[in-house]
């Protein structure tokens, strides 16, 4: 059974999780190729299965992956939403306010009529 992490994750935790090159490559692999088992990930990771499991635990805690136990296997998949704490708010709001200023001007024009 899979579940979403709804707990608050700070940018710090996400950044720390992705600061490790092995974890980044695991996350990147899951992002590109979809759901994979720990065994499949281990074959590519170049580190032991317990090490991969530990990395997956950190990624899961940071909200970057979700797991789906299936019998004796556990499947992992990327959770792109987990990158959300890294969103660049200033760029988003820069574009947002520019758009709203345009709409305000339109409204002021219509208020004249």
């Amino acid at each position: 059974m899979s579940y979403e992490f709804v707990m608050a994750v700070t940018p710090n935790e996400v950044f720390a999780a992705l600061a490790d090159p092995t974890r980044r490559s695991i996350f990147e692999r899951l992002s590109r190729h979809g759901e994979q088992t720990v065994r499949a990930l281990t074959e590519r990771a170049g580190v032991s299965q317990p090490a991969v499991s530990k990395h997956l635990g950190v990624l899961k805690h940071a909200g970057l992956v979700r797991d789906r136990p299936d019998g004796r296997q556990t499947h992992y998949s990327a959770r792109p939403r987990g990158l959300a704490p890294l969103v660049d708010w200033m760029s988003i709001y820069g574009a947002f306010w520019r758009d709203r200023f345009d709409r305000l001007e339109d409204l002021l024009k219509r208020m004249d009529q």
Partner: protein, 150 residues
């Protein structure tokens, strides 16, 4: 015009524009709930210091549930208006804690309107840059691996 300024601890976004209308008219568009909805968002705003209200729009995944928590901080008719602008609900803990301040200055041709959104935490940008840097390094190393496969 858009500019960013670095304060001691947080960053500020400034958007300003010259409008060919008197401050009184711009003030109405900024403070009458129905007019505000037409250009900004649905709201239960009232121009009264201490009034708590929300702006609401369509959720924008992955980061915005569509609701902004606000409280009116300053009301000086035709001159200045300020309210807090914070993420709400589950997003409150890691989202925005900012202040939006409007300043209206009369000019020969109408009004100079300035919006200042302050309180962006510098670590957000820092982590964004850091993560980007990390991704770039990772992509470079992937390219080396692929090149090695010849």
């Amino acid at each position: 015009m858009i500019q960013t300024a670095t304060a001691a601890a947080t960053q500020t976004l400034v958007v300003e524009r010259e409008l060919p209308y008197p401050p009184e008219k711009v003030w109405r568009a900024l403070t009458q709930s129905a007019l505000l909805e037409e250009w900004l968002m649905k709201n239960d705003f009232e121009p009264r210091v201490g009034h708590r209200f929300n702006f609401r729009s369509e959720p924008m995944p992955p980061r915005w549930n569509g609701v902004v928590d606000c409280e009116v901080l300053a009301v000086e008719p035709n001159r200045r208006l300020a309210y807090s602008w914070n993420s709400s609900g589950e997003e409150a803990a890691t989202g925005l804690k900012t202040t939006v301040a409007w300043t209206l200055t009369p000019t020969e041709r109408g009004t100079h309107l300035r919006m200042e959104q302050s309180g962006f935490r510098p670590q957000d940008e820092f982590f964004h840059q850091g993560a980007r840097y990390g991704w770039q390094k990772m992509i470079a190393s992937l390219e080396r691996v692929v090149a090695g496969l010849g």
